[in-house]
């Protein structure tokens, strides 16, 4: 199953989005939060991203969702260093993207399909 990692400056935001994606998504997806700095304060930590990716990686690839700024940069840097080549940053809104990706991942879709679902979440208008 494709794994999903939610990267945010805020530990509680990442945990909340991961919880939403696990429960609102259709089926049981593997979603891990990587939120906050290593000391628990606001910020991003590449080590927390590493740990979360390792926790959800079953060999079918991992989708990263990031909130803004350094979360995005940290995600890109992680991918640059990652040798597996199967970790992808989705260009997607954090909450909707995580929920869409979780549903697709739980349906055992492949990495490209899960990423596309997350990125397609941009087109779901609210008004």
């Amino acid at each position: 199953m494709v794994g999903i990692v939610v990267i945010s400056h805020s530990r509680t935001l990442a945990e909340g989005v991961a919880e939403l994606a696990r429960t609102l998504g259709v089926g049981k997806a593997r979603v891990e939060p990587a939120g906050g700095a290593a000391d628990g304060g606001l910020g991003t930590s590449i080590e927390l991203v590493e740990r979360a990716v390792a926790a959800v990686d079953e060999g079918d690839g991992v989708v990263l969702l990031a909130d803004l700024g350094s979360s995005v940069l940290t995600a890109k840097l992680f991918i640059e260093d990652d040798e597996s080549g199967t970790v992808v940053l989705a260009d997607a809104p954090l909450v909707e993207g995580a929920v869409a990706a979780a549903s697709m991942a739980a349906a055992e879709m492949d990495l490209a399909t899960v990423v596309a679902a997350a990125e397609d979440a941009y087109s779901h208008r609210k008004v």
Binding site: G43, T44, I46, G69, S70, T74
Partner: protein, 206 residues
């Protein structure tokens, strides 16, 4: 420049960042989230602690960059970390690097920062200090030693940073402020000046 001088640059950069941390944080509080000085101080303190004994310049910069990536916490971590790691990779295993080699490393650092952050000149970011700095460094390479090139780079970075004041931010947290970002010095450009001034001072034997 040998490995020991490279390590001295990182140590000096850490000193000046620590000394100016409050100013950087104040600049960032005006148009960002007010943590730039604190974050960079933490990152460079980690970089100094990670400096390898007796390593060549390239390995020294890679080790410093890696520490900055993991310990900084804000956007400056991935950006400065990438800059130092790319510079280090460009220097390879050479024990002693000349002015031209260091210039190529600085060019690689700039390219790494732009690739990661997608900023161009005029966006009100560190790129506005680093781009003219690398150009000035390269222009000084024919006939110039590392100290002369580094001084040209630091001077150009300072002018580039000052030029960010009237700009409206198009990248980074400040871009959410729109026109309200005008009239403030970009903190990332300001810290780029500090780091290049540290290189200039150390290579001049100050």
């Amino acid at each position: 420049m040998n490995g020991e001088q490279t390590a001295a640059w990182i140590r000096r950069a850490a000193e000046v960042v620590a000394a100016d941390a409050d100013r950087l944080t104040r600049l960032d509080a005006a148009i960002g989230d007010g943590d730039h000085g604190l974050n960079l101080d933490r990152g460079f303190t980690a970089a100094v602690a990670a400096l390898p004994e007796g390593a060549p310049p390239g390995k020294t910069l890679i080790a410093a960059g890696r520490a900055i990536v993991s310990k900084t916490g804000g956007a400056s971590g991935p950006l400065y970390g990438t800059a130092l790691r790319r510079a280090g990779k460009a220097l390879g295993d050479a024990e002693d690097v000349d002015a031209a080699a260091l210039g190529a490393a600085l060019r690689a650092a700039l390219e790494g920062v732009q690739e990661l952050g997608q900023a161009v000149e005029g966006d009100k970011t560190m790129v506005d200090a680093l781009t003219p700095a690398v150009a000035a460094y390269e222009a000084a390479v024919p006939g110039g030693d590392i100290a002369a090139c580094a001084r040209a780079a630091a001077d150009a970075a300072e002018k580039g940073a000052e030029a960010t004041v009237p700009m409206q931010a198009r990248k980074g947290r400040a871009s959410y402020l729109g026109a309200r970002s005008v009239g403030h010095l970009d903190p990332g450009a300001a810290s780029t000046v500090l780091i290049l001034r540290a290189l200039s001072d150390v290579t001049e034997g100050k």
